[in-house]
């Protein structure tokens, strides 16, 4: 391993250790914010692994997250299964679902994909509510575990770390290289022998997998679950904004976006809750018009400028 690889790895290890210590210094309110941030770090980073290189904007995070949360809830409440089993099942279901969606839409232009994922969370929510009302009969689902906030936080940290390791491995693999080529020119990609459809589908499946895991882990936080709560279209948009705000062309980019955005979002939700939607819109516009490559892109541009000055 070269020096160039060892340094980021060490920084990564230190960051994970520091992050793991957060529950010992922060509790209550600050721990819950850290937990939310950790959740978005896992979701946005995993989102960017697929959408960064391919430029396919996925709005499916909310749907997969919902699959995770809902399956854990219904499995534990209606069928008396363990949390761990349901977590594994939900991740599997979401991965398969992502694969099917990918096969149907990723052969076509990016627009079809965005549109399909746009209403996905809402559509699945409708379907799940209908099935629940007509066939299962129960309304409320309880997720009762003895997990504390700190436990949930550590589990999310584990998922986030796994996402980073996965991203690092992808970056060094044929798959990652194929993805980069697709992002540059899909026609060339096909003509050098890349199965472009499968490459995209596999990466999209990974976002489904991780989003469902996060949804499953978050479920015990709420204890009482209904479809309206877990299938949230808003979550999909937040994931996209945070990833783009940080920058999707570096593995650590979304991390840089998540932390400030979570804090601002939290502040707005408390003080001026009526402005959250407006703020979401302004954030999108700011990204498109002023920081198209995110904070990381901005930072790299400034550094290049200061270098050329010297």
């Amino acid at each position: 391993m070269s020096r160039k690889e060892v340094v980021p790895l060490l920084i990564g290890v230190v960051l994970v250790v520091v992050a793991a210590l957060v529950p010992y210094v922060a509790n209550g309110y600050w721990l819950s914010i850290a937990l939310t941030a950790m959740m978005y770090i896992a979701l946005s980073t995993s989102w960017a692994l697929f959408s960064g290189p391919t430029h396919y904007i996925s709005l499916a995070s909310g749907a997969f997250f919902g699959v995770g949360g809902y399956l854990v809830a219904t499995g534990m409440s209606d069928y008396n299964q363990s949390f761990w089993l349901m977590m594994a099942i939900s991740a599997l279901v979401a991965t398969v679902l992502a694969g099917l969606i990918g096969l149907a839409t990723l052969r076509l232009s990016g627009v079809y994909f965005v549109i399909f994922t746009l209403g996905l969370a809402e559509m699945i929510r409708n379907l799940v509510s209908w099935v629940q009302n007509n066939f299962l009969g129960s309304r409320g689902l309880y997720v009762l575990t003895d997990f504390t906030e700190a436990h949930i936080y550590w589990m999310l940290l584990a998922v986030a770390t796994a996402v980073f390791i996965f991203g690092w491995l992808i970056d060094r693999s044929r798959l990652g290289f194929a993805l980069k080529i697709i992002g540059n020119d899909e026609t060339v990609a096909r003509h050098v022998g890349i199965n472009t459809a499968w490459t995209k589908v596999i990466l999209f499946m990974s976002t489904g997998f991780f989003a469902a895991l996060v949804g499953a882990i978050i479920a015990p936080r709420y204890s009482y679950i209904e479809p309206n709560l877990v299938f949230s279209p808003e979550l999909s948009f937040l994931v996209v904004i945070m990833a783009l705000l940080g920058g999707t062309h570096r593995l650590w980019g979304p991390l840089v976006g998540v932390i400030p955005f979570t804090l601002i979002w939290e502040a707005i939700s408390i003080w001026i809750p009526n402005f959250t939607t407006l703020f979401l819109g302004l954030a999108f516009l700011t990204i498109v018009y002023f920081i198209p490559n995110g904070f990381v892109g901005l930072f790299e541009k400034l550094r290049a400028k200061s270098r050329s000055w010297q």
Binding site: H55, I57, A104, T105, L108, S109, G110, V111, Y112, V114, I115, F116, L118, G119, E122, M123, N126, L127, S129, W130, N134, P233, F237, L244, N274, F275, T276, T277, L278, F279, L280, G281, L282, A283, F284, L285, I287, V288, Y289, P292
Partner: protein, 287 residues
């Protein structure tokens, strides 16, 4: 029979919604995800004017259309032209315009919420009427009639006027249109503005029989998108057929199974289109 008539009436209004988006996407090449918010704004205007001064929504139309035209023209010129200019290729413009119009969509929802956070409820021409043994509300029928008239006017304008011909030329191929001396940016702005105005008018009509609120825009956008793709991008005839199909299927599902499943049925149609006819009902295979 009930399903057939209500379905067609619903489809008639979907035709209008989809026509607006079709002009914007087919000609200006902007996938406008804030289109649903134009509908909501039209509905809000109609609700306001009606509840404050009892003016008929059918008159409000003539106020809403020019305002929406100017508003959309400004949006195109000020916000979208910079994106068109900086885009190196169609793919980048697609991503940028999707993100930008998402932003506009949220901003508009945010504004509407702060203006009027509740449902836009009012009663206009709600008297029942019987056609072929089916009872329908008068307002639905009137809205349908207006949709037909507006659709016809739009069709005539596109096919029998100089400006309409320029619009169609840009829709077919912007690069060739440029070569024959058409100002593509100007025509795109025109198409975008007309599209927005049609959507806002659709909003006025819909508000007479459906209760809207600030957040439903995205559902309309979704449905309009499905119709446009099913009908074939830029294909007005396809959009009309697709809108009627969607109206019928949704009504059938809502009456026969469960009203909560209309979006699910729309998705099912969408999925079938993507799998079997991604170029649209009447579209040819892409080259």
């Amino acid at each position: 029979m009930d399903i057939l008539i209500s379905g067609l009436l619903l489809g008639g209004t979907y035709v209008l919604i989809a026509m607006g988006l079709n002009l914007q996407y087919g000609v200006a090449r902007i996938m406008n995800l804030a289109n649903g918010e134009m509908i909501v704004l039209g509905a809000l205007a109609s609700f306001w004017v009606f509840t404050s001064s009892m003016v008929s929504p059918l008159l409000t139309l003539f106020l809403v259309a020019p305002i929406a035209f100017v508003g959309n023209w400004l949006i195109y010129r000020l916000l979208l032209v910079p994106l068109v200019r900086r885009a190196k290729n169609q793919g980048q413009l697609e991503v940028d315009s999707i993100l930008a119009t998402f932003g506009m969509s949220f901003v508009l929802v945010g504004i509407v919420v702060s203006l009027h956070g509740e449902y836009f409820t009012y009663s206009f021409l709600a008297s029942p009427l019987s056609i072929l043994g089916t009872t329908v509300a008068l307002n639905r029928l009137v809205a349908f009639a207006f949709a037909v008239v507006i659709g016809l006017v739009l069709y005539l304008w596109l096919n029998h006027s100089r400006a309409g011909m320029a619009v169609r030329a840009v829709a077919v191929n912007p690069d060739s249109a440029k070569l024959v001396g058409i100002n593509v940016l100007k025509v795109s702005a025109l198409a975008f503005a007309v599209g927005g105005a049609v959507s806002a008018v659709a909003g006025v009509l819909i508000s007479t029989f459906i209760t809207l609120d600030a957040s439903v825009g995205v559902i309309f956008t979704m449905k309009a998108l499905i119709i446009v793709i099913m009908g074939g991008v830029g294909d007005i005839r396809g959009a009309i057929v697709a809108a009627l199909i969607l109206g019928l299927v949704e009504t059938a599902v809502a009456t026969l199974i469960d009203p909560g499943l209309t979006l699910v049925s729309a998705y099912l149609i969408f999925l079938l289109v993507l799998l079997f006819k991604p170029q649209g009902l009447f579209g040819r295979a892409q080259t």
